[in-house]
């Protein structure tokens, strides 16, 4: 279990780099991360389903200018790991519990971007004294720090949530409610798509 958790966090950290730091090939979108993480957990189909669900939920969220939106990659990774090889109601719970993580991670991301300015005087001094390798070093350090940030965040979140989730007591009524929820969630996504496209 712990070995698998490390692999998932590692791959999750790499995938999450794509969203701002490296390239933006959109391999950090839930529709891609879901199946990849699901494949690592041995349950690619659940991953695909959860990924499609979170992709639709995030479809209307558009970053404008310098705004930082809630992170969908983290939500999808944590939800997929918790839901893989589990019953459908646990999958619904996994989505519900991991959505707040996207908002927490967004706060963390903003703090990180504010903190990044400590590098500016370092690079400036480097240029003035002719040591240009500092620029390359800082750039790759930035990539590395972003990776460590996502890696640790995913690792800790999965560790905590996989302890919490079994303690959530599901009465038959709640299970029925969660079924309706799983059916209704894509509709919320479609509504947000239509709302952003008819603007």
């Amino acid at each position: 279990m712990n070995y698998e958790l490390l692999t998932v966090s590692f791959v999750g950290g790499l995938l999450s780099l794509d969203s701002t730091v490296f390239g933006q090939f959109m391999i950090s979108r839930p529709i891609v991360t879901g199946p990849v993480i699901g494949w690592l957990c041995g349950d690619i189909k659940t991953g695909l389903f959860i990924g499609a669900m979170i992709e639709l939920l995030w479809v209307g969220v558009v970053p404008v200018g310098v705004g930082v939106p809630p992170d969908s990659t983290i939500v999808c990774i944590v939800a997929t790991v918790l839901a893989a090889n589990n019953t459908p109601d646990v999958a619904a719970l996994a989505i519900i519990f991991s959505v707040p993580l996207g908002i927490i991670f967004k706060r963390l991301d903003i703090a990180h971007r504010k903190w990044n300015r400590v590098f500016l005087p370092v690079i400036e001094n480097g240029i003035k004294s002719g040591r240009y390798y500092i620029l390359t070093f800082v750039t790759w350090l930035g990539v590395f720090l972003s990776f460590i940030k996502s890696f640790l965040f995913i690792f800790i979140c999965i560790l905590i949530l996989s302890y919490i989730l079994p303690f959530v007591i599901l009465s038959p009524a709640v299970v029925k409610g969660l079924q309706v929820f799983m059916f209704a969630l894509p509709l919320l996504g479609l509504a947000s798509f239509l709302a952003s496209f008819t603007k």
């Binding site: 959109m26 879901g34 639709l56 299970v175 409610g177 479609l190 239509l194």
Partner: protein, 254 residues
Amino acid sequence: MKNCNIIRTFFRSFLFQAVWNFERMQNVGFLYSIMPCLKEIYGTDENRLKNAAMRHFDFFNTHPYIANAIIAITLILENEKTVDDETKSQQIKSLKLHIGGPIAAIGDTFFWARLRPLCGLLAAGYVFLQCKTLKQVQGFTSCHFLVPLAFIFLYNIPHVFFRFFGFWLGLKCKTDVVKIISNVRLQKISEIIRIIGIFICIFVLVAYIITSAEYRFVGALVFLVSFILLKKNVSVISIFWGLVIGCVGIGFLM
């Protein structure tokens, strides 16, 4: 400039936002990308290289996909040998300041607000039309691997095209590239994508609701209520929490 340095600049531009900061935004990425070429242009003169590096360390922000065009124009301007450093610095400063903003706006509306949602909808809609619950997914055998691959492929054709041709055009046509980019009529393509997106969304919606046996009424209600709330600028996350509470409530009623 040597070809190998230009290729290095292109690949370095993928790390454009590595040290994104709120003070000067993409300045580190910009300088990092053009550094090999700057070294080649000012290689012999330590002082001029320092000055050039410092002036590219200023505030800069644009859309990462279209940044390549600006990088290329900047390099061409830096490479001009007849102009003295003072005018060059002014030219580049005004170019970066005046082109970055409008081009970023074009990129934001086209890529973030139109193309990505459409690709996401196509991929996710395909999954939901095939299967509605996790139980049905387990019986879903047809090419589940192709869904994410198709998404990446569909999205990255325009993306890589823009990165590559923006760079190439910038090197070839210099400042005319802005005219060319505005001539591509991205607004019109965005409008076409918008209309296609609305049709696909309605198709997926109707098919999804009609084929569900039990929850037709609930589904239509959820969609209408959340659409109206979204139009009144309620955030998706708030509606999400409302949906969780509402659905658990429905569970107790049934």
